[in-house]
Structure formats: C-alpha cells, structure tokens
C-alpha cells in the first residue's frame, strides 16, 4: 500500500495509507488489539474480515478468529466471547445484519461492548448489494450505539473511538460503525493512520465489570420475569443517555492526539443558514460541496451531519437547527407506513417541543445504491430555501430521483 509519513495537527506521528473504507476499519481493528473476531462474509463488508483474516494468518495480531456458519452464529460467538472479558469485533451488511437481529438485542441486553463494522446495504427483496441504510435503520431500536461515517478516514477513527466508548464504565454497550456500502466500503482514499503505540496508549486494555470464568462462576442470560425485567431495560436507557457525555470526553482526548475533532454531529455554514440539509454518512460530503457553492452565491444554506444516530442527539440537533427556517432531512431508507423516514421522524420529534421551529420536510433518496448527485442536493437546498421563504412545506415526503 502506498504511504508517507508526517506529523499531524495533534503532534502524533501519522502515515498516510491508501485504503478503502473496509480496509480502514480492518486496520483500526488490528491496532485496537482485538481478542476475538467472529464473522461471516457478506458484500460489501467482506473486505473488512477478509483483510483482518490476513492479519491473523500472517501473525500480525494475536486474535482468535472464529469462522462461523452464519451471522446469527457470528453475533452469538461474539456475545459469548465478550462476556469472558474479551475485546470483540465483527462486521456485516444487509441480510447478515437482519439474520443477526435477535442476537443484537442479546448483545445490548447483556451489556457486551462489541464493536461491529456495518457496510450499509439495501435489504432484499429484490436482492441488491448496493448501499442504503435500510439494514441498520431496521435495527435502530436494538440498543446499539450507532455511528455513521462520511469517509475512510472517519471509518478508521470511529472504529478506534467505538471501542473506547463501548467499553466505558458508564456505557458498556455495543457500538456499530456504519459506512455506506461501496461508496465508502470499496472506494480508496488516503487515510491518516496512527502508530500502533499511539493507539495502544489511547485505547487501554478492556476492564470488564464481570467475566465468565470457570473458577468463579456467574450466570448470564438467566430468565428474568416481570418483577425485574423492566429495571434492566431502564438501566440500558440510562447507559444510552451516558453515551453523549462519554463520546465527548473520548473525542476530546482523541482530538488532542490526532488533531481530528469529532463529536455527535458536524455542521457547515450553520452560523447564518436559513435553510439546511440534515443527513448521515457519505452524502454529507456532497451536501457540503453544494452548500459551499450556493453560499458563494449568497444563499444562506447549511449542512448538519450526524455522526451519532443512536442515541439520537436530540439536544444537539435542536441547538444546531432551531434558528433555521427550513430543514430538509435526508433518509436513505424507507420506513414503510410511517409518516417520515426514520431519521426525519426523530428530527421532527426532537423539534416538536420548540415554540419556534424550522419547517421540516423529508427527502427519501438513494435506495438500493442509487446515486445522489450534486444537482439532486442543489434541488433539495433550493426547495428548502423556497420553504424558508414561504414558511409552507409543499411536500412532506419526496422520493428523490425515482421514476414514479
């Protein structure tokens, strides 16, 4: 892989390596000194575990690599491994995530800080291997922290950050790092890679609160009747509430080392914007470019990109968007029968308590990997500007770029 070294903004020595999003995740997992990986290949995630299995075969890592017969077994093995106190990683996409579904709840319910790379892909039927957010959006209530990244650099950084957030004493929850299938998973970019030593210092060994140990037996996954179940779910709610605070602390520390500052969301042009787009993942890059161009023509537009989708950072979304006149929320998944896509529903419910709030409308786009082009974004921002001017939402939900 082509590479060159330099000092980054935070002072740590970094090497620029050409990597796809999937490879960036695999490299971050390697540096995170993961004890166990149990995974099953599925496009477009395959490169993550394929590349990692090479690290194992070449003796570059001391990881126990469990080859399983399905994603359901992959997540089951991960839960078991995590309960022994191990640092655990897996990866999946689409149908694989759907097959894991019941085990996702076991992982969060048993408070396993597993990190999972998800190369987001459309769900069948009809079968499609390309990128949209249907897979993870269908699992949004499963108690996992959900991060969406914009490029290969973020895929690398957030994978390392994910372990630290997941394993924090006040969180102890699984985290998924979501990257757009193919657009990020298979596109090669220059990634600033830290030295192993730097990652080691940042990401200390996991300190589990309890472990499965034959010499000191404990019981996990026991029956829990109506008299206690509710309390455990309430604890999970509390752990989710702690995520924002922990994420801020962890990101500040990472920012000091790397000079790259992450948070729950990122804004562009929001200081004076009257109309804006809110979206997840790689689309934010296109949106920012278009917004930049429109701003040069004096149009007051902005972009809000969420890094954190679960727990939904309602307060931060309110703070970023309350002064807007119009907000277009971009969903790359359909919530069949719901008034809006999942992301827009969350934004609307976050804003509904405000007396003065922006007019919100929903754009559903890019299903099954359909491209979203700068002209599409320009159309959305122009619509948002019109809505800002008139104060009236013309169309609550628009399916962008579809033949209908």
């Amino acid at each position: 892989m082509p590479q060159r070294s330099h000092q980054n903004g935070g002072g740590a020595k970094v090497t620029i390596v050409g990597m796809t999003g999937d490879e960036a995740v695999a490299y971050a997992v390697k540096q995170s000194r993961v004890d166990v990986v149990a995974a099953y290949p599925i496009t477009p995630q395959t490169i993550m575990v394929e590349r990692f299995s090479r690290y194992v075969a070449d003796g570059e890592v001391q990881t126990e690599y469990v080859c399983v017969e399905s994603e359901h077994s992959a997540m089951s093995a991960c839960v078991g491994a995590s309960l022994t106190g191990a640092r655990v990683f897996t990866a999946t996409s689409s149908q694989g995530l759907a097959l894991m579904h019941e085990m996702l709840y076991i992982a969060s319910g048993l408070r396993c800080p597993i990190v999972m790379g998800v190369a987001n892909r459309a769900l069948s039927a009809p079968i499609n291997i390309h990128g949209d957010h249907s897979d993870m959006m269908a699992s949004r209530d499963c108690g996992w922290v959900q991060i969406y990244v914009e490029n290969a650099q973020e895929a690398y950084d957030w994978t390392i950050l994910a372990f630290k957030i997941a394993e924090d004493r006040d969180v102890q929850l699984p985290v998924s790092v979501n990257l757009d299938g193919f657009i990020l998973s298979h596109s090669m970019e220059g990634v600033d890679v830290l030295e192993d030593m730097t990652v080691n210092q940042f990401l200390q060994a996991r300190k589990p609160l309890f472990t499965l140990d034959p010499d000191k037996p404990i019981t996990v996954g026991a029956l829990c009747m109506p008299d206690y179940y509710f309390e455990f779910k309430r604890q999970q709610v509390e752990a989710m509430r702690n995520v924002s605070r922990v994420l801020d602390t962890v990101n500040k520390e990472y920012g000091r080392i790397t000079g790259r500052n992450y948070g729950v969301l990122e804004t562009f042009g929001m200081e004076d914007a009257e109309a804006a787009i809110l979206c997840l993942g790689s689309t934010a890059g296109t949106a920012r470019n278009v917004a930049h161009k429109l701003r040069e023509h004096g149009k007051k537009v902005g972009v809000i990109k969420l890094w954190l989708y679960r727990p939904f950072p309602a307060e931060d979304v309110i703070a970023a968007s309350k002064h807007l006149k119009a907000l277009a929320v971009l969903d790359r998944a359909v919530s069949f029968g719901a008034p809006y896509g999942a992301l827009c529903s969350d934004v609307v419910s976050a804003l509904h308590t405000l007396q003065e709030r922006p007019q919100v409308f929903n754009i559903v786009y890019g299903l099954g990997g359909r491209d979203i082009e700068p002209s599409d974004i320009e159309f959305v921002l122009e619509e948002a500007l019109k809505t800002a001017e008139t104060g009236v939402v013309k169309e609550p939900v628009t399916f962008l770029g579809v033949r209908e």
Partner: protein, 82 residues
C-alpha cells in the same frame, strides 16, 4: 447490570410465588394429614407438619390442584388482595 447473577445457587432466593391469583387456605380442623396435596403439588409447595399441612407461599403459584384433590375439602382457594 446485564441481568448477571454473580454467585451460584441464587435461584433459592428467587421467590416465584408472587404472581398467584388465588391463594390456598388450609383449614386445620378439617385436615387429616393424608398428604394427597403434598403428593399432587407440582411445585413442592406443601410443607409437612405433625398434625396438618402448611403452604409455602413463597413458591405456591395458586394452581388449586391441592384444593381439588383434598378429600376433606380442607383447602379453599381465596382470591389474592393487592
């Protein structure tokens, strides 16, 4: 957290009788200590005593089998109060 049980053998501490809707009440005058209820109880919640039987309400689910089987009608099922 995570519904983890940190010590073995703790199921004894888990009193499972709390969802009972009807409670068996033993009439000590009528009980002849035949122990049919003790045999029939599916949850081993009948406690043998010298002259009559008692019910372990920590585990009795209130199924009513004891009352049904008692030849002396010494056990009555009474609705639980909140």
């Amino acid at each position: 957290m995570g519904a983890v049980l940190l010590e073995p053998g703790s199921s004894l501490k888990y009193k499972t009788g709390d969802w009972r809707a009807f409670k068996p009440i033993v009439d000590e005058q009528k009980c002849v200590n035949c122990l049919l209820c003790w045999i029939y109880c599916p949850d081993s919640a009948i406690v043998r005593k010298e002259k009559w039987i008692e019910v372990n309400y920590d585990y009795c689910k209130g199924c009513g089998i004891c009352a049904k089987e008692c030849p002396k009608e010494a056990i009555k099922m009474v609705e639980e109060q909140k």
